[in-house]
């Protein structure tokens, strides 16, 4: 009995390790391809480590500069977008967490309804274009100020905080806004971190809205640029743009694609270890709906 459950556990651990490896393998492969020589890539020799180490693809991308411009745009899109999201989500969640508020249930139902039914792509597009926001980042930020789902997560977290805290602060003469700023928000840091992560990843990965609303090429986001580069690596990306060194023969489209994928996921991988402990909490809060 003890024996058999020992075997069971070992087998289970090994199978799980296989799952994890299968999950990571595509990423390792793309990193390896990005650092491999074009000969090795074209021969299909690359699996999880670079063959004939080469930085040509990265040299080429950096010399070309288009991806870096898109990356800079995406940083702006992400930082401002996430800040607006957090501000507006708190603005909505805090008052709506107060059961005494008149009209609260009506507002909650009205917000819940927007999660179930929406205007659809074309009416939204016409609204943004009527407001004159085509080709402006405001056309991306404003329609996405609050995610109703995240708002409900934050609201139910606020509702879980002990009411006595606020009451005693109110007796000391604090007003709603300073209670929110000095007491509620500091207590909510874990869930705020989780929501910030989810919003920020959303902005970093934003593709469809940029595709629809942003027209000028110098404003495109990282993902749109990446998609374009994957569709057609044009001759301009494959030629030497910096004069010294990288000759056409040493670059292959697959290598450049791999390198641009690696560059565009690098920032997420960098913040991931610091935030991963928070998002589980965020997901669990979201599932316990109030």
């Amino acid at each position: 009995m003890v024996q058999s459950s020992g075997w069971f556990r070992a087998l289970n651990a090994i199978l799980l390790a296989c799952f994890a490896c299968a999950t990571l393998f595509p990423f390792l492969n793309i990193v390896a391809v990005s650092f491999s020589s074009s000969r090795a890539i074209n021969a299909g020799e690359v699996s999880v480590w670079p063959i004939e180490l080469s930085f040509d693809a990265y040299h080429n991308l950096i010399a070309d500069g288009q991806l870096l411009v898109a990356m800079k745009n995406t940083v702006l899109l992400t930082v401002v977008g996430t800040a607006l999201n957090m501000l507006f989500t708190v603005l909505a969640a805090y008052p709506l967490s107060k059961r005494r508020l008149k009209g609260r249930n009506f507002l909650l139902m009205a917000i819940l309804f927007t999660m179930l039914f929406g205007g659809g792509l074309i009416p939204n597009f016409l609204l943004v274009s009527t407001l004159g926001l085509i080709n402006s980042y405001w056309g991306l930020w404003l329609p996405a100020l609050i995610s109703a789902y995240n708002m409900f997560v934050l609201k139910s977290f606020f509702e879980g905080l002990p009411e006595e805290l606020e009451e005693s602060a109110a007796i000391d003469g604090a007003k709603d806004l300073s209670i929110l700023w000095k007491i509620i928000l500091p207590l909510s840091l874990p869930v705020m971190a989780a929501l910030t992560l989810f919003y920020a990843v959303g902005w970093w990965n934003s593709y469809m809205n940029v595709l629809i609303y942003i027209k000028s090429t110098d404003k495109l986001s990282l993902m749109v640029k990446l998609y374009q580069m994957m569709q057609n690596i044009g001759p301009e990306l494959l030629s030497t743009s910096n004069g010294e060194g990288v000759s056409q023969a040493t670059i292959t489209p697959e290598g450049v694609r791999a390198a641009s994928i690696v560059l565009s996921i690098l920032p997420i991988l960098c913040v991931y270890p610091f935030l991963q402990k928070h998002f589980v909490k965020g997901v669990l809060l979201g599932s316990v709906k109030g």
Binding site: N42, P123, N124, I261
Partner: protein, 305 residues
């Protein structure tokens, strides 16, 4: 006796800051959520740019008639439903299985490491994941085909085959979401009373029997809710996954409602026609979610609202 006006006054005095905070929020929902719902009237009009939404002529149900009689409609509706059914059958059980396995891992450290690896793809965009999938499966340079060739097999054109494309679609969904999907199931398993396992062990139940008789019943309600939620999303396949994986050779199995609305509406400027399609999709989705919620509550579980 306080009059209504006085009571409101007292409420207002006490909560005016809360109401002030809500003003921008209410404006946001009115302008960016409810106004576009009014825009759905375009589905009953023949939109002309020069005349705007309100000036364009009414055409009643003509757009819907055009839609329901077109061959495109049958195809994209079928593709949308089929891809969702495949996901339901093949992708849905995977996080449950993974969670059952993770739940049996004794070493907390090993478990955490595994989980953190399994979550990673969830945070990547479909553009990135689609790019990786296409590179991986490339017939000339992809590593999968290199392996096939090493075994003496013919290279497979995964992305250009109408047989392999849906498999790739579901496989990539599993890759991205299976690990992340374990979070809720693991939380449900953590809530199971450990005495139940002890009792089962005393009754002579081995590991597999314990999983069958204790763990699975313990997470039944979580499974049920997620399952019906998935059914509620039957009409919707996310835009980006399909768009990043599809190409013209597999359009017959890969064109779905969301990509079609984008191509015909935004790119092709057929605003009224695609609004009609979007409205059809939203209404069916709404009806599905409402019935699914009824069903959950009828089963004695807590509903979604």
């Amino acid at each position: 006796m306080h009059s209504r006006a006085q009571r409101w006054r007292r409420h207002w005095e006490r909560d005016k800051y809360l109401y002030l905070l809500l003003v921008p929020v209410v404006l946001y929902f009115i302008i960016f959520k409810y106004l576009p719902m009014l825009g759905e009237v375009m589905a009953f009009k023949n939109y002309r740019l020069s005349e705007g939404i309100w000036g364009s002529p009414w055409v009643g149900l003509d757009q819907f008639r055009k839609l329901f009689t077109s061959r495109d409609f049958v195809q994209i509706l079928r593709n949308t439903l089929l891809l969702n059914v495949y996901s339901l059958v093949f992708a849905f059980p995977v996080p449950i299985l993974l969670a059952l396995m993770l739940n049996e891992v004794r070493s907390e450290l090993y478990k955490r490491v595994l989980q953190n690896f399994l979550y990673i793809p969830h945070f990547m965009s479909w553009i990135v994941l689609g790019g990786i999938v296409i590179a991986l499966l490339s017939p000339s340079t992809g590593v999968i085909n290199s392996i096939l060739k090493a075994f003496g097999l013919e290279p497979v054109y995964f992305m250009a085959s109408t047989f392999w494309w849906p498999i790739t679609f579901v496989g990539s969904s599993i890759w991205r979401e299976a690990g992340f999907g374990t979070i809720l199931f693991l939380a449900a398993m953590a809530a199971i009373n450990p005495q139940l396992y002890e009792a089962a062990a005393i009754d002579g139940a081995g590991k597999l029997r314990q999983v069958w008789h204790v763990t699975l019943p313990g997470i039944r309600s979580t499974i049920a809710i997620l399952l019906v939620l998935q059914v509620g999303r039957m009409m919707d396949v996310g835009f980006e996954q399909v768009y990043s994986l599809q190409n013209s050779t597999v359009a017959s199995v890969a064109e779905v409602i969301s990509t079609y609305v984008y191509k015909r509406g935004i790119v092709g400027l057929q605003y009224s026609y695609t609004t009609a399609l979007g409205l059809f999709q939203s209404v069916v989705s709404l009806l599905l979610v409402i019935s699914v919620n009824r069903l959950i509550r009828a089963m004695g579980e807590r509903g979604l609202w």
